[in-house]
Symmetry: C2
Amino acid sequence: MPTPPTHTADTAQSDQLPRMFRRYSARIGEALRSTLSHDGVRVYDMLRYYMGWVDEDGNPCTATEGKALRPTLCLFACEANGGSLAQAIPAAVALEFIHNFSLIHDDIQDRDEMRHHRRTVWAVWGVPRAVVAGNVLRILADKALQSMVGEGVGVDRALDAGALLTEAYLEMIEGQYLDISYEGRPDISTPDYLHMISRKTGALIRCALNIGAVIGTDDAVAAEAFRNCGSSLGYVFQIRDDVLGVWGDEESTGKPVGADIRRKKNSFPVAYAMSHVQGRDKERLTDIYRMESLTDGDVATVLDILDRAEVREHAQRLAEHHRDNALKALGEVRLAPELRNELEGLAHFLLSRNH
Amino acid sequence: MPTPPTHTADTAQSDQLPRMFRRYSARIGEALRSTLSHDGVRVYDMLRYYMGWVDEDGNPCTATEGKALRPTLCLFACEANGGSLAQAIPAAVALEFIHNFSLIHDDIQDRDEMRHHRRTVWAVWGVPRAVVAGNVLRILADKALQSMVGEGVGVDRALDAGALLTEAYLEMIEGQYLDISYEGRPDISTPDYLHMISRKTGALIRCALNIGAVIGTDDAVAAEAFRNCGSSLGYVFQIRDDVLGVWGDEESTGKPVGADIRRKKNSFPVAYAMSHVQGRDKERLTDIYRMESLTDGDVATVLDILDRAEVREHAQRLAEHHRDNALKALGEVRLAPELRNELEGLAHFLLSRNH
């Protein structure tokens, strides 16, 4: 399936996000900020810092905020199904908070001191406070979701939405656990890896489209179609993320080329190479991944092996395949042409983004 | 208010828990175990270990299980208000899981390697897995609570219960954050300290009685009375805990006398002493609490100061005061005599327990 030409306007400027993001971003930003506007114990300061709104001292700053992919998808799915945006905002906020909660804890688990060119919460405030900050964000997600009823969502639908989010969150955490379990194991196959990311990354993206649709419509078939679209977009997102983690440009990603190789991070390129290269390259790859830490030379060797096996090209083809599946999933769903166009623009962006 | 004589039968044997615990324990144990019976990624193994059911290798063991105070209070409040126990079980499980989740993360934050004579989760499996294990338990609490609707609880009531639990959980985490913020600060007053524990410890105990009552009855006045009773029991529990942390017998508590002094843990005895001792003792106390680490001699000095200021006696009197308030809170509530007797037995136990 060729890349549809309709979305080019959305991505003509490399620094501009696709239209779907732009359309909802003010609304999402406002909802996120008002939810984190005050607290009694000053733990929200850390959260506002993490969201990119203030610096380490609590002063307003202009750090790049996240793209808010999950809230965007949630609002889109609600609107595409004829629902009220106001009713989907609580779920959108909940999704973004759960995502950020998981990143705050992830940074602790991985001992990552930097994310998006900024120091991570534990690096600034220490592990105990960072664990708590993550947990607070997680509860605020629950509170946000519960506010749905105040927006006129029926109680049954609110309970369904709660159950969907809980399920997605459990899948996500179990995926994180699989990710930790895979660390340092050279025998993780491509299917193992894809299974892990479908939970770790896919669950929340899938849930975003699913929950938005459920808020917007009673049509279970449509909700399922959006859910399937989300599963595929999750793969597109993570595989591209993994490609950027190995071959991304430092200026865009904040990480040097080969960063994920050096850290021996579980990543599609390496899982694929482990399953597909043979002979001498396989031996060298396995030997290098058994080492405690890697030198520049080791990283260069791995990059050579990946190049020879055309791993980058394969990864991109797989991401394209899932992009196609994402669009196909909504093939039978009634969708205004401009919304379908937006979805295509978003899918293309996830496939080709540089940061 | 003198200690009522009616509960003596409950506590005649020091190794026997009061009747309220004994009456619900089988039911609670069964519900907890069935909720943690299987998972796809083996993270539940860590949770079953933490609950005391299996050893580090996953083999069944006979470690002492927790008393399940919060689930017990929840079931009691439901039953006392004429509700169905089956309908309160999901909330009871959720409360116990949230409590244990918080302990797993607390152990990470405090770098505690032992709890109740067993290695903590992070000490056995490392911080990353322990963070995840705690998060999983937290989600299972949500899932448990959501199963309430399947037990015939109305959707409105289920949403109310969810909101109560979320609120309590947020208070608890904010209390943990205050606790971390207070560390190493000699200026924490008794009211500061009581404010902190009313959140950190009180929130979940208060919620246990509140949520049980809400499941059992539409009577908002009764639910409020149970809530107030829980607030007071929370103080009783934590003040006694703090007394045991300083003067507890090693065999019962697993910690040497003065353990919480040595660790400079925020604790009622120290907060009280900081606010009430004067002159030379105040100076010595402040100096010692400014040190990086304490010697046996320092601990002995602090214990002497606490003795001279009769801190232990004062703490116990304060706990008795809150025990009285707990019973008074239910003074106007219609309650079968044997249930009131049980509550008195429980309150007395919390006041006088040795572990």
